[in-house]
């Protein structure tokens, strides 16, 4: 199913909606249940019966939103073994999200031209990359030039240094093309969103040994 403008809005709003309710700018009786579900995420994931899927990125900066959009698509599949959250990617928040978790799958945008031994998991698209960060550092494509807001790479390596990594941490990187403020997803990235969502669900099944 192709992604459209409404889906992008709702995916953005999923992570944003709780804030609107809390601020009184929107009303939703479901919001408290959603908050309760979020609090249980790490507990459920740590029991080994589910995986935590984290979509990262800035929804206002073009292809940087792809992690969140993919997370939203995975959430709508309503698999009982998946808990899905979205996050800006700030290191302290990430480390808190996956604290004591078993299996964590993160989806984030990466710069184009990513290469390496684990590059390009998809034969149909060479722009999707999978990395197992459990035992080794993420490659340079996840490093940000700006380190004031610590990101995914810093979160992973700080957690490793402090022995706070989840038991299994898999990262999917989607090569982006445009990251300027206010721009939508580029056509090429939009096209592969469903494929990455499939890969994330399949990865979770593999890690949890679910058929």
């Amino acid at each position: 199913m192709p992604i459209d403008a409404d889906e992008r809005f709702y995916v953005y709003a999923d992570g944003f909606y709780e804030c609107l309710v809390m601020s009184g700018r929107a009303k939703n009786k479901a919001a408290p249940a959603k908050r309760a579900r979020t609090k249980r995420i790490s507990q459920i994931s740590s029991a080994g019966s589910s995986a935590l899927v984290v979509g990262l990125g800035n929804p206002l900066r073009g292809d940087d939103a792809v992690g969140r959009i993919i997370a939203g698509r995975v959430r709508r599949r309503k698999r009982p073994f998946l808990n899905v959250v979205e996050c800006s990617g700030e290191a302290a928040d990430l480390m808190e999200l996956w604290r004591d978790a078993g299996t964590v799958i993160v989806v984030d945008a990466v710069y184009p031209g990513t290469s390496g031994p684990e590059a390009a998991v998809s034969r149909r698209s060479r722009r999707i990359h999978r990395f197992d960060a459990t035992g080794k550092a993420l490659p340079a494509c996840f490093h940000k030039l700006s380190t004031h807001a610590f990101g995914l790479h810093e979160a992973v390596e700080l957690a490793r240094a402090l022995h706070q990594l989840p038991q299994r941490l898999i990262v999917f990187g989607v090569e982006g093309k445009r990251f300027d403020t206010g721009s939508p997803l580029s056509a090429g990235v939009r096209k592969i969103v469903p494929r990455v969502a499939d890969l994330v669900v399949a990865e979770a099944r593999r890690q949890l040994k679910i058929r």
Partner: protein
Amino acid sequence: MKTKSTKSTKTRTIRVDYLTRVEGEGGLYVKVKGGTVVDVKLKIFEPPRFFEAFLRGRSCEEAADITSRICGICPIAYQMSAVHAIEDALGVKVEGQLRALRRLVYCGEWIESHTLHVYMLHAPDFLGYPDAIRMAKDHPDIVQRGLQLKKAGNEIVRLIGGREIHPINVRVGGFYKVPAKESLRALAEQLKWARDAALETVRWVATLPFPEFEQDFLFVALRHEKEYPFNEGRIVSNRGLDIPVHGYDQLFSEEHIAYSSALHSEMKDQGAYFVGPLARYNLNFDRLSPLAREAAIAAGLQPACRNPFQSIVVRSVEILHACEEALRIIEQYEMPETPAVKYEMKAGTGYACTEAPRGILYHRYRFDAHGTILDAKIVPPTSQNQKTIENDLKQFVPANLSLPEEDLRWRCEQIVRNYDPCISCSTHFLKLQMERV
């Protein structure tokens, strides 16, 4: 980060492709001739984002939400300067518990922003680590304390602002929703821990080694008649300046520098000036909480401090003060009857200056009778400090030319990091290259 070094009796070139452990993209160029620094350039190549331009035509009631996107680490500062400027034009006064909530959310931002800088960006310099990750391997408890302290600040911003990055609850007149007393009380235990952690932070940074480097700075900050300044006050300096915020444009100017996408500020007839924690501390020491003052003195500071390397201690003192102020506000908090005061829209021009974590942040808006913005001016603290950073390099480098190349490059980068620059903010619209001839 690439470096290039050319050794010669006359010429030395040190190049850093990108300044690390600063927000945004920038580089340095230093030219030395016969032991004298003849040229210094702090090059900002972060692209400008034209916020002042695209605010035109927007409603002034959107300014807080739009300008908060300028920065992910200090969005509250932008929101506060925006709403205060608009309220200035409309003749709106936000007082009582709503005013207290604004101070509280600003406390949250100071705690999380200062903590990030102290622990993750600045402390590694003093301990000889290239980054906080390597520091964490040798000092896990210290880094963990920093992460939890930052989280305490994030929680305040999340509770009052709706979320910690680009908060959504601030509006002209107050807030969209105010928290119940019980929600704030729930934060108190975490903040008591944070206050103790902040005190430990001051004690820890006091043990760090500081180069001798005192300068005769022109400090500029807000000063309030009773409080350590956040949202309100007059603009003062250590050389006799004392003006209302409306007078900013008459005395402070900006110019575009060819080698930088960020504007440079200076005070008319005075030149470079210094904003931020060190300026606030020097101009408002008597307004700090008693515990914060005591901790500062115990850490070896005097009421006046002119060594920018010791800004890490001053930031830590401000974290402690912010924790104390947050606890004081929570202790006396009663939920206001309405989340915002009413106002009538009218044409006008409004001015505001609030103390962002990095220093005074000036906003000015002119809008019509419908509230449509006709023009906007935003002057972030980092652009106000750029000349001072370059002056520091001009003073520091000649006295330290005998240092090994790598050490001198590191110190130059550290001088920039003393100011905790937010380079993305400074482009409203560390590559260190040193040439010795």
